[in-house]
Symmetry: C2
Subunit: 373 residues, 2 copies
């Protein structure tokens, strides 16, 4: 750690180099919805999907509107220096439906989701805030179950819940319980982990089975129930990250493939770093039950959300050691190398199919699975 400075020294380390305008300067009188916000003059479900439409909303609406007040491209997490401490800072709202699903609840998800965003910057999560938006008429025992899940998950992750907020909205303006969690973590001084550092030659590793969270939530959604033994993988990943960092490897990039699944995550990294990503379909750890459910529902497992998995981009020389450390951790026991980072097709993800062909794995446009987290 560097020495502290006596004054408030705040520096942000941009996660993405999106240029901002010099000041907040939308002229609302003449404002026309900028292309490519599609034809819709209004918010549609796809704007919340974590895919191309979400990205367009940030790039073409939020960033111009925020002007020079915005930094760091409004990424999943920011690394900022305040009072001499190098901190990761991340926020997420959770609107998953239903609130209770096989393997977890909105409460676990809210804690683990923010813990994981901090961990993906190489930070040790320290404190969380919790802000609840409650719908009038929500049963107190249902709220208590959710709140207890928050407490239990926070204890398990070793983070303290230090401040909170509760708002109530009328029936018909919410959906039981929405939770925002925002967290602060202390960034390990040995690491520099961000999407921009992904480099040709890196080995791409995932920490286990893909697609289970999304399928678990869908399996109990009203009107869509189906029988499966798949349970959500929601889990805090900072312990796994710590084990990986302990190897001394220069880990370039970490990301948890949540909304939009592995496909969205790999595309984001490819674009942020200006590299290509090449994966092998046959190397992807996708459980048969997830494959079956996806066939039935017409989904591609690469686009299904995970809540307890990470993707790592690691220099080839360090890959064996990192993989061994992951295998030795309970949350990484089924880790697998799924591909490599390449100099070809920058910004694109290409999968080698089982038959030996190649297919482009696109960034999803909208939302395959609404309200999955």
């Amino acid at each position: 750690m560097p020495d502290t400075e006596p004054e408030a020294s705040i520096e942000t380390e941009p996660e993405a180099s999106i240029e901002t305008e010099p000041e907040a300067s939308i002229d609302m009188e003449s404002w026309v919805c900028p292309l490519p916000l599609r034809d819709a003059p209004a918010i549609v479900t796809g704007h919340g999907g974590g895919g191309a439409m979400s990205g367009e909303l940030v790039e073409h609406l939020f960033l111009p509107a925020f002007g020079s007040a915005a930094e760091a491209g409004l990424a999943d997490s920011a690394v900022v220096e305040i009072g001499g401490a190098r901190l990761a800072f991340s926020t997420d709202s959770f609107v998953v439906k239903p609130m209770v699903f096989p393997g977890g609840t909105i409460g676990d998800l809210a804690v683990n989701g923010t813990v994981n965003d901090l961990a993906m910057a190489g930070a040790v999560p320290a404190v969380l805030s919790t802000a609840f938006i409650l719908e009038e008429g929500t049963a107190l025992d249902q709220l208590a179950r959710v709140a207890q899940a928050v407490g239990t998950a926070a204890l398990a992750a070793g983070v303290k819940l230090v401040t909170g907020d509760t708002k109530v909205v009328a029936s018909g303006h919410g959906d039981g319980v929405y939770i925002n969690t925002t967290g602060i973590g202390l960034v390990d001084p040995r690491v520099d982990i961000r999407p921009q550092r992904a480099a040709p030659g890196d080995v791409v590793i995932v920490s286990g089975d893909l697609g289970v969270h999304g399928i678990a939530v869908l399996s109990c959604r009203e009107g869509l129930e189906f029988a499966t033994s798949v349970a959500s993988d929601t889990a805090p990943l900072h312990g796994l990250v710590a084990a990986m960092v302990e190897t001394g490897a220069d880990i370039h990039t970490l990301r948890d493939p949540t909304r939009g699944g592995l496909a969205a995550t790999l595309n984001e990294i490819a674009r942020a770093a200006g590299v290509g990503v090449s994966i092998a379909d046959t190397a992807l750890p996708i459980p048969q039950e997830v494959r079956d459910a996806c066939s039935m529902l017409g989904l591609d497992p690469l686009y299904v959300a995970n809540e307890g998995k990470l993707v790592a981009f690691v220099p080839a020389a360090d890959a064996d050691e990192v993989l061994a450390a992951m295998h030795a951790h309970p949350l990484g026991a089924r880790s697998a190398v799924i591909g490599t980072c390449v100099p070809d097709h920058p910004g694109m993800v290409v999968a080698k199919t089982a038959l030996g062909g190649n297919r482009v794995v696109d960034l999803p446009i909208g939302e395959q699975l609404p309200r999955i987290c």
Copy 2:
């Protein structure tokens, strides 16, 4: 500032000494809604009002459910030490209806509200996160106006928007735009400002006219429109606080009287510090238009929300100097002494009436004005 320590050192300074149970331990099988959560087995509007019912929800549901993961009584803001830096951390969700009102929008409110919660701990606000929950069908130009208000307010307050999140919920499960902002500020090493420090003998000062935000919002609420020139006082108060701190006074307590108004804020401070508060009705700066609107609506101005005012508890010896510094600041020009902190009636707020009598100013129970912030 103290020297940094090489390891992650995290200490919280509890804002309220509410005891937590050793672990998250609600037995849901036998869970019975604990009194005094009234008779309602479900969330009602009053649980979001910032009064007694909000407090009961925190004390009897959230804190037992969170167990030992919760610290600091889940107050409006927490002061935590991370990596050697002493940080204020605060979260708020904003659900104000309508989103645009005389003098402001949900966007200004979302920035200034969190900036002010940090400022009330004596912190210089540094960074904010913004998390939007958008209702399907919300017009993009309406969202752009709100987002621009966020950017403009952040620029004005000197805080950076460094990370964000967007979720979309179906029509009928939101109300246009809900915004959560969470902020980090660096606490001035010279100060120790918290409700528990309010002490008998302290002079109680408010920084200007009371009740204007709530009346401004109500004046344009659907079904309730009335003519008034009152505009919201939404403003960032950290500059005013800095001017007060610069005097060298040992400011004991600062609070912004938002939901529940001055009455809720003074009651919270009286209870946290175990002191009495005595105010004079004739000393309260309440504009005639607020009085008129309150008469018409059957409201008590002491319970109406403010979004750009603070209440300060200052040792008598420092009061003149602090008041002079406040008067010299644009946001404190109409500051006034409204009472004193007393050893009598601990935990209670008593107002001397214009006719020479005394009345108890109770903590509001539920919500006089729903969705005011």
